[in-house]
């Protein structure tokens, strides 16, 4: 529970099908004050987004059922979530730069906790699109 006069913790949704990776990232992010939720594919992520919003969605690209690109498209098309910050985590060099605003940044796997936190800070500092 958030204490009175204490700012709400930033909420982040980690979406990854690789066993153990989401849990490891959650440990890193909880330690620095994030509120973290996990999903193992894009569809599970959308289910969580039905009831609430997140400040950042940190998602893998290749996943079963629904991949990261489809998830990002669904979020950008939804007025409730279109301004959520989206970070792609990927090992793919072929992911194109986000010219259409589909995502805000790419984290190339593998990455260090420091790189993750620096990228999150940078992304959260962005001005929301109109």
């Amino acid at each position: 529970m958030t204490a009175p006069n204490q700012p709400a913790r930033p909420a982040i949704l980690i979406v990854d099908d690789e066993y153990g990776l989401g849990e490891m990232l959650r440990d890193v992010l909880v330690d620095v004050g994030y509120e973290v939720s996990l999903a193992i594919n894009g569809r599970r992520a959308l289910a969580q987004l039905q009831d609430r919003t997140f400040d950042v969605v940190l998602t893998d690209v290749m996943m079963p059922v629904m991949g990261g690109a489809e998830l990002a498209q669904a979020l950008r098309a939804d007025p409730r979530h279109r301004h959520v910050r989206i970070l792609f985590m990927t090992s793919l060099l072929s992911v194109a730069p986000s010219e259409d605003g589909l995502y805000d940044a790419i984290l190339e796997k593998p990455f260090t906790p420091e790189h993750l936190l620096a990228t999150l800070d940078a992304v959260r500092g962005l001005t929301p699109d109109a």
Binding site: E18, Y19, L21, I40, M63, S91, L92, L93, P110
Partner: protein, 496 residues
């Protein structure tokens, strides 16, 4: 085999040697286990097949179940020539399925696989980490039901399923082996500090694969496998009479050609056996030079001297034909390191060179290079025999050099089993002590189905070329252990 069996639609792995071993690829709609110890190359082989599949315009799904992380796998694959980053994720798609397995057991894993195959339209499925699925099964029966489910999916979608799992020995039997359509076993072992990788097809329903061990090489080119050359070479029998009646090919050394009544027969195999420094290589190069002089095409295949050194050596004795032949593209000089090579690769390289050049003359300098490169010593005799028969079938006239272990002495050990049986001619070169001088001597020990001059000649390598002299004609008692030319004997005591 009937045509109907041959017509089973197959998925080409795109790995040439493997498709040969599999009789044209993996039959569609089948489930195959790819097993072996960690590090044997299962993941690289599976990915290589996936990217070849993608390069052919189709889609592959790679499912990991508590296996290597995708990030690390892709990082390792980036150096491989087959890896095409543009193919991921559109044509090669990686998903992790262990979370689904943890949540819903094998039923959830099966559902995930079925749904993903349909969603992506993939016709090749790899499941990496079958052991995790097995461990999550409550019983063998439950695991077999999972395998059965995959078989139904494979058959209905028409895709090929590769299941990757760890195992140490071929003899290890798992109940699922009886269910699946094929089992491919990879090994990675050390033999006298040399790493040896092999592939063996333990089972392949509806096919007649090339059985036994086949050598595997993993490099930046990816996964390479070469069917044992004994299974590919020497399958065409070449009648000996054809060689016996063939034209004679000269050395271009008048005295030697006279001893051979004009030269060796076209298509024959000649052993140039001698001690180190006795001139075997130079004599072989002279045989090639004479071929070039009469507009033939030639190949030199050596294990010890580099081409530039060979050319320079020939230049020094006035044999400029080799240099000119190389420059004109009518001579190819190949050098291979024997120790780290794979005997099947070397054999392929040799035969390809002869075919590529349409060579009529060939010198193999240091035939024991094949023996040094052999993965299993018990193969050597068969390897030599297969190479000899293939060369005979190509109708290339071949000289191969064999080094004697001792510089002097009456004993001649020629441990070239398999090759010597197919050899028509043997020429011996040795150092001999003659009137307080060390000279080189040449003698013909054997010419099959033909007469020859059995005299012993001095052979001299001069600035103007090679000459044979009758230095020893009046001095038969050469001091080299009692005589120059005892019979060739592989094992027994010297015969006089």
């Amino acid at each position: 085999m009937s045509d109907a069996k041959r017509d089973i639609p197959r998925l080409l792995t795109g790995i040439e040697g493997l498709d040969t071993i599999l009789e044209g690829g993996l039959p569609n709609g089948g489930v195959y286990i790819l097993q072996g110890p960690p590090g044997a190359g299962k993941t690289i082989l599976a990915n290589h097949v996936c990217f070849n599949h993608a390069a052919a315009g189709r889609r592959a799904l790679y499912v990991t179940v508590l296996a290597e992380s995708h990030a690390r796998m892709l990082a390792h694959l980036r150096r491989m020539a087959f890896f095409d980053p543009a193919a991921v994720p559109e044509r090669v798609y990686y998903v992790g399925a262990f979370s689904a397995l943890e949540e819903g057991g094998l039923a959830a894993l099966t559902a995930l696989i079925r749904n993903e195959l349909q969603r992506l339209g993939a016709t090749l499925l790899v499941v990496d980490g079958l052991l995790s699925a097995r461990e999550s099964a409550g019983s063998d029966r439950e695991f077999n039901k999972f395998i059965h489910g995959l078989q139904l999916i494979a058959a209905s979608v028409g895709c090929v399923v590769l299941l990757l799992t760890n195992t140490q020995r071929t003899a290890e039997h798992f109940p699922e082996h009886t269910m699946v359509d094929g089992v491919l076993h990879l090994t990675d072992e050390l033999s006298n500090l040399r790493p040896l990788r092999h592939l063996q097809v333990l089972k392949l329903r509806g096919s007649a694969p090339v059985r036994g061990l086949h050598t595997v090489k993993i490099s930046d080119r990816g996964f390479e496998v070469r069917p044992r050359l004994e299974t590919r070479f020497g399958l065409r029998q070449f009648p000996e009479e054809t060689i016996a009646k063939g034209a004679r090919l000269a050395f271009g050394i008048p005295e030697l050609d006279a001893m051979l009544h004009g030269g060796v027969r076209a298509g024959s195999l000649t052993m140039l056996v001698g001690s180190s420094g006795s001139g075997k290589s130079l004599l072989g190069m002279q045989f090639l030079a004479e071929g070039l002089r009469v507009d033939e095409r030639v190949v030199y295949f050596g294990f010890y001297e580099r081409p530039d050194a060979i050319v320079a050596k020939c230049d020094r004795i006035g044999n400029s034909w080799i240099r000119k032949g190389v420059e004109a593209g009518r001579a190819e000089l190949l050098w291979r390191r024997p120790v780290e090579g794979i005997v099947d690769e070397l054999g392929d390289s040799l035969i390809e060179a002869v075919r590529r050049n349409q060579a009529t003359r060939l010198v193999i300098d240091g035939i024991n290079g094949f023996e040094l490169a052999a993965d299993l010593k018990e193969r050597v005799s068969d390897v030599y025999a297969a190479i000899a028969q293939e060369l005979e079938a190509l109708h290339v006239t071949t000289m191969y050099t064999v080094e004697l272990r001792s510089l002097y002495g009456p004993r001649i050990d020629v441990p070239i089993n398999g090759m010597s049986a197919a050899t028509q001619n043997i020429v011996l070169l040795r150092h001999v002590e003659h009137r307080a001088r060390l000279l080189r001597a040449l003698a013909i020990l054997k010419v099959r189905d033909s007469d020859y001059d059995a005299g012993v000649r001095e052979i001299r390598f001069t600035d103007e070329g090679i000459r044979l002299l009758k230095t020893f004609d009046n001095d038969p008692q050469l001091i080299m252990g009692g005589g120059l030319a005892p019979p060739v004997d592989a094992d027994g005591p010297p015969k006089r």
